[in-house]
Symmetry: C2
Subunit: 204 residues, 2 copies
Amino acid sequence: MPRVSDMKNRLTDAALDLMWENSYGTTSVDAICERAGAKKGSFYYFFKSKSELTAAALEAEWNKNKANMDALFSPTVPPLERFDRYFDYVHDRLAERQKTCGSILGCPILSIGSEVSTQDQGVRVTVDRIWDRKIKYFESAIRDAHAQGLIVAPDPEAKARALFACYHGTLAQARIQNDVELLRDFKQVAMDVLGVKHTQAVSS
Amino acid sequence: MPRVSDMKNRLTDAALDLMWENSYGTTSVDAICERAGAKKGSFYYFFKSKSELTAAALEAEWNKNKANMDALFSPTVPPLERFDRYFDYVHDRLAERQKTCGSILGCPILSIGSEVSTQDQGVRVTVDRIWDRKIKYFESAIRDAHAQGLIVAPDPEAKARALFACYHGTLAQARIQNDVELLRDFKQVAMDVLGVKHTQAVSS
DNA sequence: ATAATAGTTGACCGATCAGTCAAGGCGAAT
DNA sequence: ATTCGCCTTGACTGATCGGTCAACTATTAT
């Protein structure tokens, strides 16, 4: 067997990075190659098109984040607390990234998905698939919360989709307005959407 | 005085149309000109860049829709009913458009805004401004609903922003999944976000 | 050591990109 | 009817786009 290369990962990393910070359309294959330290020929050795690279980059991002998601939404954590931890995690990650690039970047799945959905079915289907996987974490937490009588959610799947959409709307707004504080306010909105019985703030 | 031309409007109409259906990045100046029946030189007679045209197109779209919004959110309509009518209106408009282009297009403000926000401050600021204007309709309806004891919303502006973000998240999801039914389900979510009292009593 | 193969390179392609410009056409006020 | 100036035209630019290709390198199993 000949040599092995990490170039494929470098390319997907560079692609997602650039597309997240800018957009799919303004991220050229040349720019991806430059950041990955690759030449154009190498790019097209691994991927047959920019579209295919994008789908691979989104899947790679999912794989890198899956363990984190599993931990955040661990069944050992009280169901409603899972959301709190997840929202905190995303907030912190976006705030951290803002320090280096100056912008709140929102969710790459939504940004890229919204941009290409009417034109690139390959990427669209990939976005859809990852979207569904992430919703499963919400769904499971909602079902557990319902079982414990914390909320009333006879249709956990629908409730999960709704909450996920609301959250992503807030992420998109945070990106457009470049304001991370919008994410802080979402926790209360999430409780409203989930139908958590209103609780007065308890000093901790 | 020499002749007058409707070319400027034709160009903004064509631009918004193409960017809504596809994206900002994939909408070329050439394509805009072709749809508007203009030559490149005319385009740059009216606008000094694609970016400036986009900002103008968004403002023009707002101006065309303002009367509709005023009617939908008329103070003569019961406050919570205003939302119902607005959501129906958007749903019907998107469903109608789907017949001709095959896709649920979501909200152009969000799509374009999300796409260019980190790269084009001119368009970003325009998106921001229109976003704020639209939120005012929500805010006013929420304040009226609060005054009538239909909901509890001590901070109507924050509630309006939250609901607007949630709705746009749903619009984005509908675009990505090309599914108009997601918008139908939003009405109940909106009631949850607004904190409308229904069968489920809310503890004080 | 060498052969087989995974990976790399850089030159190249036609198309399209946003944007420019000088010149001319054409409507309205005089 | 002339003139003023809004608007249109079409040919043009240099850069960049996504993508191709044949030749080359480097690694590793044998």
